[in-house]
Symmetry: C2
Subunit: 349 residues, 2 copies
């Protein structure tokens, strides 16, 4: 990916061109795609090393590593696209483990025929997201599959970060009495995708919440609150993520339906499509389990951050050998908030 | 990915079952797939942490990171499959940068309808390769796309390793006078795939050379030879890799065709298909550029290792402002060994 001139006959046609099989060959066309598109937008001193991997300084601490494939359809949606989603999602997976995200790797699987203009738009979006988050894409890979063996572009992003000894926000640390906080209104990412797929006119105002949350997490930690667990409720939504934590920690949880922040448009679109916002993916929200005495302090710190203005205390943890997540409904009843079974929203991220 | 019982109605049907959209939902079916297939075979204490990422100890040094998407078709081929290929390939990309490979992440994009038996066979192969190499898969991700939006399974593997300060085998270090060594006979991986695709009966004996090379590299380094550059000649083959090094280092190279190790069956299959083995992918070979005075010592050290018995000195580096790679043919002529242009072998890795 270095800048030495290689004498291409002509530059890539980013307006009318499209991906063809030569762009995955390992030869001249691939080198040109890397140079004129990927390196141009994502370029930094690590990516510029030009080897099949990158070498970077590493501060002391434990290593955190997370990977996520992105197959969202459509590629572009209100509030974002597969590019920024693939950056933010992986940063969040690293950050919720208490780590400072440091570096990203991106693997592209391109379908023959993808307009280069679409790819450029996606890579520009990745570059903006990476730059805004301060986490560079240091290495990458490009493969091309024939028409009909892919769907435009799939991006697998891997993130690494560093976490100090003793910092631990993993899913097995919830204890009876702890409080459950969500950083904002739920279901927006999933419903932005669904509204676009289903052409729901009345839902045009729903935009994905895709965002990198490491800044918010830093602010939460600076509050000094005893945070037990952090997790971003993506696929499967808040319900599935809380079930995972309940299982890992060996506890039960009780949610208050009336406390769940849901935008009016999201609630309406969910009702129209027969979906429950508790199971709908978020891409810029987090769940925090916090010691009871620190819940108010943490909530105040979160609400002071632009990405968590609508943070809310939505429930609490209790002992339960069945590890059930339950909810007190707005009508005063109780129901079990089970794991997602079946497939509610395919290819949402 | 922890082992707490979740009360699945029945275990995965690994004999007759197939991947469906629920396996990518983030819900119960996905958790079952992870537990009964991925964690069962790949399990280790990091993968077992059960979060959306893993936390591991990190020795001091610089961090090396590399990522590679694997889209090889067919999924199973003589000598290997997409599973072991995805492990070995990424280990090699980390190792040729002089690093000790430490951890791997694997992102799966599964096509609806993929037989679970095939997936199990692939994951078992990954587990064997990771175990043999001593490099664990510490975190992963699974997405499912609809029938016709993928091709069985794509695997993007990311590796991290650690490299000491001062160790540098990057592509910009070749100098005039240096010698070029290849670790063994070339073109086997690519021709194993092509022979299977084209049903070339006479080529049944060609098997992929897929192998993890970090042990060989350790032996090479232990020889004390002044290694300038290491690179694994995968997509685009030896020709493309040497052109990349020539460009990065700003030098020319002269190869000796008679010195190139090529198996008889590979040469025959290449001739039949009109391919040049110099451009055919390898998955268990490396190229080393070495100081002239150390070439014999390095060659001896390589030939003492099981993965480089047929290592050969194939050329030398010289000053050339055009950065041409040339070859003295067996007939005594000279030709330019250009970059691969066009697509010789689609989806070879």
């Amino acid at each position: 990916m270095n800048g030495v001139r290689k004498g291409y006959v002509r530059p890539l046609d980013l307006r009318h061109g499209s991906v063809d099989m030569t762009h995955g060959s390992g030869g001249r066309a691939m080198a040109q795609l890397i140079e004129e598109l990927f390196a141009r937008h994502l370029g930094n001193r690590f990516l510029g090393q030009g080897n099949d991997g990158a070498v970077m300084p590493m501060p002391p601490g434990r290593l955190v590593m997370s990977t996520d494939g992105h197959v969202v359809s459509p590629l572009f949606f209100p509030g974002g696209d597969i590019g920024c989603l693939s950056i933010n999602g992986t940063i969040n997976d690293v950050a919720v483990l208490g780590a400072t995200p440091l570096y990203l790797a991106a693997g592209f699987i391109l379908e023959e025929g993808l307009p280069l203009a679409d790819l450029a738009r996606i890579v520009e979006s990745m570059a903006r997201a990476a730059s805004a988050a301060g986490v560079p894409v240091v290495t990458g890979d490009t493969k091309v599959v024939q028409r009909g063996a892919g769907d435009g572009v799939y991006i697998t992003t891997t993130g690494v970060g560093v976490v100090a000894d003793g910092d631990d926000f993993s899913g097995d640390r919830a204890r009876p009495g702890d409080q459950v906080i969500v950083s904002g209104s739920i279901g927006e990412h999933g419903m932005a995708i669904m509204a676009q797929r289903e052409s729901l006119g009345f839902s045009a105002s729903i935009v994905s919440d895709t965002a990198a949350l490491h800044g918010l997490i830093a602010a939460m930690r600076a509050s000094g609150a005893a945070i037990r667990t952090l997790r971003d409720p993506t696929r499967g939504g808040v319900a599935t993520t809380l079930n995972e934590i309940a299982r890992q920690s060996g506890v039960g949880m009780m949610l208050q339906e009336s406390a769940l922040p849901v935008q009016t448009e999201v609630a309406a679109a969910c009702e129209f499509l027969g979906l429950d916002p508790l199971y709908v993916a978020n891409e810029g929200k987090l769940l925090a389990i916090v010691a009871p005495e620190d819940a108010a302090r943490l909530l105040a710190a979160m609400r002071a951050h632009p990405l968590a203005r609508r943070a809310a205390l939505i429930g609490s943890v209790h002992a339960d050998e069945h590890h059930f997540v339950q909810m007190t409904t707005t009508f005063g009843g109780r129901r079990i908030v089970d794991w997602l079974t079946g497939e509610q929203l395919p290819r949402i991220c």
